[in-house]
Amino acid sequence: MGAGGGGRGMNGAAASAARYAEAFARREPALPGHDLAWLRDVRRAAADAFSRSGFPTPRNEHWKYTNVAPIEKRAFDLDGAGAAPRAAPGNGASGTLPGGNGTSGAFLDGGGAPRLVIVDGRLDPGLSNLEALPPGVTVEDFPRALERDAAFFESLLARIVRPEKTAFAALNTAFMDTGAVVRAAPGAVADAPVHLVFVSGAEGRERAYSPRIVIAAGAGARIAVVEHFLGLDGAVYLDNVVTEIDVAEDAAVEHYKVQQAGAAAYHVAALEARLARGASFHSWAVSLGGRLSRHDIDVTLDHEHARCSLDGLYMANGRQHTDFHTNVEHVAPHCASHEYYKGIAGGRGRGVFNGRVHVHPHAQKTEAHQTNRNLLLSRNAEIDTKPQLEIHADDVKCSHGATIGQLDEQMLFYLRARGIAESAARGMLTYGFARDVVERIARPGLRGPIGAAVLGHLPGGGDLREILQ
């Protein structure tokens, strides 16, 4: 895809690409794993791929409704965390995060769940706590993991999320310098979810962050990981995240994504899971923050009896724009996928959902179900939904349904006729719409704080705390 179009001049696109290329050349000698030949090749190929493609334009079918020109135009600081220790706001024993969302504490304070906290691209040992990890489970920050066991990455890194997949994945692969690696040995079972907390924008520079997250579950292992992105509300920055998930035979991975980027931030995240025979993967994602956010979630089912469920909730208020693209490749027979996504847009908010399910010719006995329901809270809000089913096998059970609606006037009247003020009634019905997605969170301990975060993003939701009970 060439640059240009969408109101952007060739010069702007070329200048932007040159800036990224120059930053890459400058930083390459010091990027994590720079002494590994294979990784150097991977990074260079990715940087070249980005140079060729530039940022996508709306002429690219996958980016039709999401114009990333504002990201291209920003001259984000690409210099990374640097070598000097971070000037530490709120560092150390206090256990609270600097600024940002008031809900952050809810996730971290309770229960002493294992957590890795990365502030502005740098591991914060004071806020992290990995003491409670069960045997066989390791959690490290990305640069350290690469240093300690490079061999582990060679067959995995950039193999699940291919850099050429999107310009953002290429950019992340070229620059990846922070992130987290969660590994579970065969048979390891972690009862408590591992929290990966990323706080962006604390530093004041308008940075582009390139965190890489790798989750690998050995045969029969069972783990849950929470990716929680927070940011300072005034800060302009870009989170460009790539998550690669490898689920071995009969293993089960639950992945929770909580996107609470700062109100002025850009958040782009690509996640892909590779499933072996009998493996299962559950993705649960909520997009709440950010000026513009985009999630790509891809699952390839190329071994029999693998199954995935993908659930998500996206909310866009004010002038927020949020986009979910899911893609499930049913390659092998006897696999199942279930998708359940809901979207809420108010103000001038804009939501996009694109759910592709591709059933390959040999994927008989496939079960693939997709539901996408959307709620518009205002006249100026907009949601585009596009289920995309491509079915090339005949002995399959597939279904899909997409709806866009408004709050039901009869329900609203019923609540008001019982004395409940209109704004509160609207809030109740809106949370009522989102509730079943929150209830799909398999971990009761996560349901409460995530439900509270969702409620916190609803217009007037702050007055409805008790609805969570």
Binding site: M411, Y414, A417, R418, I420, A425, D436, E466
Partner: protein, 251 residues
Amino acid sequence: MLEIRDLRVAVDGKDILTGLDLRVAPGEVHAIMGPNGSGKSTLAHVLAGRDGYEVTGGEILFEGRPLLDLAPEERACAGLFLAFQYPVEIPGVNNTYFLKAAVNAIRKHRGEPELDAMDFLALVREKLAVLHMDESLLKRGVNVGFSGGEKKRNEIFQLAIMEPRLAILDETDSGLDIDALKDVAKGVNALRSPERAIILVTHYQRLLDHIVPDRVHVLSGGRIATSGGQDLALELESRGYEWVREAAAGA
């Protein structure tokens, strides 16, 4: 308590009520009967403040204040309650949460302290018992998966909890078996008091055996065509509504 003067209401440009007068004093129970489509629910909805009805004339005073200027929630807080003919299901909004929010909204309006969890639970248990309702219904979404009878009981359960000044029951009796009808009547009769008034909208005389009204009105041709006592309901039962219509047309 309630005074309706020359009320005229149109829906989609069609005149439904064409000059309805009604006075209800505290302590009274009035029954409004009438054939299907005569405008009984229209009247009930206009009283409760539902959108979609065009009031083209007349006025309504509730405790001396003009009712039509108030939002539905303000009417509820002022003490008006409508038991719906067709209660809507509200998935995702828990019944207990909803009830507590409603009770406390009204208490707050009255300047009373909010009920705490214990007092609320005690109140709820007491009223559930009167209506023979299972506590498990409270854990569901509002009316979600309730049978027709359970929905009607739930309306009267809410009525019992809210203790309004004026209750309007829109065909609460239709579709109920005799046991449910008795429970509903018990719930309503328990509320009868010198300060409260009740309007029973019904199609059948049956309910009036259990909740004996002070006045019976027949709604026909967009207005109260005739009024009387309990014996009027019995006469309607034997002679049908056609008789009223003819009498009204002939008058």
